[in-house]
């Protein structure tokens, strides 16, 4: 394994002006600051101005977008970069792709690096799809022959054959994004640096893009990938870097870093529903908020595979009567919106009876959560005597992180299904007739 990126003690400082609205100054500002400095020096000729005379010291402040980052990337690594907004993810990518210079430290790169910090950089609205493919390709560093050779493939990937000679300003936003990504996806650098670009486009296209990126990585190329979509990072990356306030907080196997990141950076997952108006039903019973609890009864930020998961629903009885035969049902969807299971009180024969008095809590518990790591959405459905009382589609979502479902503590690789099932493997002796 060769090291293709070596980052040593990398730091980037920005000077932020407080007084100025815009990031760029006007000549007048510089002249007046300069004038002030001059006046200061004339009035106090012996006071050291220490270089601040021209910057006007109280108006600016330092901000370290990156501070002392060090890591190595091996050839063929696919590294996800996690962190909240402002953690320095994009700055790191910009430094690595040479758009901006570091203030301290060094990064050494082996091989051709291409960065995709935005979809459709340099697209010109007046130009046609065909013209933009060439322009954008050139901007991303492809030669004319290279673009020509891949032209048909790009067009097919983007599914815009019919609109090739239409100016892209007439494209729908979906078409625009597809075309832009298609060009970028056909780059063939040794190192590909990608920022949050998959956040755009519809689900089907996102899937296609991820598939394309997986192909790219299978060819042994190195990928650095920033996303807020944990699912995408899980699917694509084997390692992850967690940046926090410009500092590298953790570097390791992707699942481990994601768990730590989620546990650290998310507050309790509790969901408040009293503001939701898009609900159906008589309203006799209303779910007002939902809490998520773990093994020891404490509120959690994420559920863990293989551990106890408890969801508590706070209901308000607004009917004024005692309610019998209260049926609560929670439909769980995966990230693609596919229903994967239903937790249903009727099915398990545990419908509740609620007194007329206001507030009630209903709880559902799964003892050994068999879901694979990922984000899940859910729908809450509640009926009284077969009549819908409260029904909230996509009421909220929760996160599941990897955990000890199996005794080994291991997990199947991402993309291999939604569920974990208990199973036993054994080697049958020749005389063993237990197989029937």
């Amino acid at each position: 394994m060769t090291t293709v990126i070596k980052v040593e003690n990398l730091s980037k400082r920005y000077i932020i002006g407080h007084r100025r609205e815009a990031s760029y100054g006007t000549l007048r500002d510089s002249l007046t600051e300069g004038g002030k400095g001059l006046a200061r020096r004339l009035l106090h000729p012996f006071r050291s101005s220490a270089g601040h005379a021209f910057t006007g010291m109280p108006d600016t402040e330092e901000f370290w977008a990156l501070k002392g980052i060090s890591f190595d990337v091996q050839q063929g690594d696919r590294i996800g970069i996690l962190g909240r907004n402002g953690a320095g993810k994009t700055t790191l990518l910009k430094v690595l792709s040479r758009i901006t210079e570091p203030t301290e430290g060094r990064a050494s790169i082996r091989g051709r690096i291409s960065s995709l910090l935005e979809v459709g950089t340099g697209f010109h609205p007046e130009l046609t799809g065909r013209e933009n493919i060439f322009l954008n390709g050139a901007i991303l560093g492809m030669g004319r022959e290279e673009i020509r050779g891949k032209f048909d493939e790009i067009v097919a990937f983007a599914e815009v054959e019919k609109f090739l000679d239409t100016p892209v300003k007439r494209y729908s936003s979906g078409m625009y994004v597809r075309l832009a990504f298609a060009v970028a996806a056909h780059l063939e650098p040794e190192i590909l640096v990608v920022d949050e670009v998959l956040a755009v486009g519809d689900a089907a296209f996102q899937k296609k893009c991820l598939g394309k990126m997986e192909d790219v990585s299978r060819e042994g190329r190195t990928i650095l990938f920033v996303s807020h979509n944990m699912g995408a990072i899980r699917n694509l990356c084997r390692k992850a870097i967690w940046l926090h306030g410009g500092i590298l907080k953790k570097l390791g196997p992707v699942e481990q870093v994601i768990s730590d990141y989620l546990l650290d950076s998310q507050g309790p997952m509790a969901i408040s529903l009293d503001q939701r108006r898009d609900r159906k039903g008589t309203g006799d019973l209303r779910c007002e908020n939902i809490g998520f609890y773990g093994r020891d009864g404490r509120e959690v930020q994420a559920f863990t595979s293989g551990q106890t998961a408890r969801i508590v629903f706070h209901f308000r009885n607004r009917s004024g009567n005692d309610l019998r035969n209260v049926h609560l049902s929670i439909g769980i969807d995966d990230q693609a919106g596919q229903r994967i299971t239903l937790l249903d009180s009727e099915v398990v024969g545990q419908n509740a009876s609620l007194s007329a008095a206001g507030d009630h809590r209903l709880e559902v518990t799964v003892d050994r959560l068999p879901l694979i790591p990922g984000r899940y959405g859910f729908t809450v459905y509640c009926a009284v005597n077969g009549e819908v009382a409260d029904w909230i589609q996509n009421a909220g979502s929760f996160e599941v992180i990897s955990g000890p479902f199996f005794d080994t503590g291991k997990m199947p690789p991402p993309g291999q299904g939604n569920f974990l099932l208990d199973c036993t493997f054994r080697h049958l002796e020749p005389d063993d007739r237990s197989d029937g």
Binding site: P102, G105, L117
Partner: protein, 277 residues
């Protein structure tokens, strides 16, 4: 640093790129595409399209001819006044449009600068191509005018590329300087058009240099466009337009100085463009 050698790229603060010019050459494809884009976009959604690049110089020529030739009755050195003006309009238009386009080029391509890496020098440089295309169109008009007025050209026309180059270098020198300044100080967005407008009157576009008093000729030649325009008239119009060598050399010297200044300043600020723009 033994390990450093095996890496292709080393990113460090203040590291002057070792292979700056080689890299610039490597990115020549982008240079071509940016120029191509600007040319394509220029006349999209215009009704008369390319006709604009004929109408603009023609009308300007008519106005200048009327004002300086007919009203002010300035001497024309023995050639028809329209030809005198048009021979100067060619380099002047090329100079002014390159200067204006290149000065705004960095700010106009903000999204490129902040999202992709490439040698920034490509952006202002590629604007020169658009002006060259316009120049070619204008040149055809001039040829037409010369046929109309039955004005023959001589072997001197072979020197024309030299003066074209000189005009380009002047325009790009200023262009590099102003485009870099424009990134930090948007004041230059307002200043440059004003300077160009002003420049039209202090350069010998509407009149011949011969109207300038003899003892001021050398000082007048500090304006690098004086050398270029005189050169154009000398190459195209012949006889009456002698070559004033000391003035020309001064213009050239000034051009080289401007170009060097602009380029140096641009390269010094280039690294910070993405942070400031």
């Amino acid at each position: 640093m033994g390990t450093e050698e095996s890496f292709d790229t080393v990113i460090e603060p203040g590291r002057g790129m070792k292979h700056y010019w080689a890299e610039l050459w490597q990115y020549r494809g982008l240079f071509y595409f940016l120029a191509w884009r600007d040319i394509l976009v220029r006349y999209k959604q215009t009704v008369i399209g390319v006709a604009w690049s004929v109408i603009k110089p023609l009308l300007t020529m008519v106005v200048l001819t009327v004002v300086f030739g007919k009203l002010a009755r300035l001497p024309s050195g023995g050639v028809p006044y329209p030809i005198l003006v048009f021979a100067a309009m060619l380099p002047w238009q090329m100079f002014s449009s390159t200067l204006m386009a290149s000065s705004n080029s960095l700010v106009g391509n903000t999204n490129l600068l902040s999202k992709v890496y490439f040698p920034r020098l490509i952006v202002p440089s590629s604007t020169a191509i658009v002006s060259l295309v316009d120049f070619a169109v204008s040149f055809v008009i001039l040829a037409g005018l010369m046929v109309w007025y039955r004005h023959a050209v001589t072997w001197r026309i072979l020197a024309l590329p030299l003066f074209i180059l000189l005009a380009m270098i002047t325009a790009l020198g200023f262009g590099y300087l102003f485009s870099a300044l424009n990134v930090r100080y948007r004041d230059f967005r307002h200043m440059v058009p004003f300077m160009v407008q002003f420049g039209l009157y202090i350069s010998p576009v509407g009149f011949s240099t011969q109207v300038v008093p003899e003892n001021w000729r050398l000082a007048y030649s500090i304006n690098p466009m004086v050398g270029v325009i005189d050169g154009f008239r000398w190459a195209l119009l012949g006889k009456g337009f002698g070559f004033y060598l000391p003035g020309f050399l001064l213009s050239v010297a000034f051009t080289v100085l401007i170009f060097w200044l602009g380029l140096t300043y641009f390269r010094r600020l280039e690294r910070t463009f993405a942070d400031v723009i």
